[in-house]
Symmetry: C2
Subunit: 109 residues, 2 copies
Amino acid sequence: MTTPVLDLAFAALSDPTRREIVQRLAKGAARVTDLAQPFDMSFNAVSKHVMVLERAGLVRRTRAGREHHIALDPKPIRRIAGWASRYERFWSDRLDKLEAFLKANRKRD
Amino acid sequence: MTTPVLDLAFAALSDPTRREIVQRLAKGAARVTDLAQPFDMSFNAVSKHVMVLERAGLVRRTRAGREHHIALDPKPIRRIAGWASRYERFWSDRLDKLEAFLKANRKRD
DNA sequence: GCTATATTCAACCCATAGGTTGAATATATG
DNA sequence: CATATATTCAACCTATGGGTTGAATATAGC
């Protein structure tokens, strides 16, 4: 049951810098330079972060001359949302149990 | 904008073994021994995985004698679902654009 | 053609992650 | 009490992550 998509997506998003980059990209595509600008770290570090996001499929790159256009690909995030949604049932179950418990207590009042 | 909750949750869930453990725990609490049983790795390795999940808040531990009862705490998963849901708008935006594009083409037919 | 810009590649550093094995600790059980 | 069971702690190993700096590569602009 190897699901490298989730492995890579979760790992990529565990870094706050990369989550900020994703958030930034949700507002539109950008060059690597643009993405690096807000951060207090080397351009190369950000370039590496972008590569990690790309390898995880969270981002797509199109080359336009010397500039690389980085765009968000939300599919892996969707996968994560799907994975997480499995547990909504679990949440409801717990709520149901709590509700049942409160109901039972109310009867005794 | 430090959100260690998401950092830890995403990191914890990036490991397939830990995701399997979470999935298992969705069916009910279990001892560490029970959790380790299906895996082809040392008990200690699984124990460590459980500790990682605990540190990330994905799991709660209650001691009953020598046995530790491990139960799923779905709150961090909820946080992740919330984070991912921010991008639903982005997905819809892209779908809207696609729809608009198709509509425009239909007009030309 | 020369220089500036955008980007990756490569080597390195240090910390952490995931795994192992071997104690240590605490609680059950005969 | 002695032994078996459930679990963590500790030390170790190797691989990977996130950061740095210093090239190398490719394209743009004068």
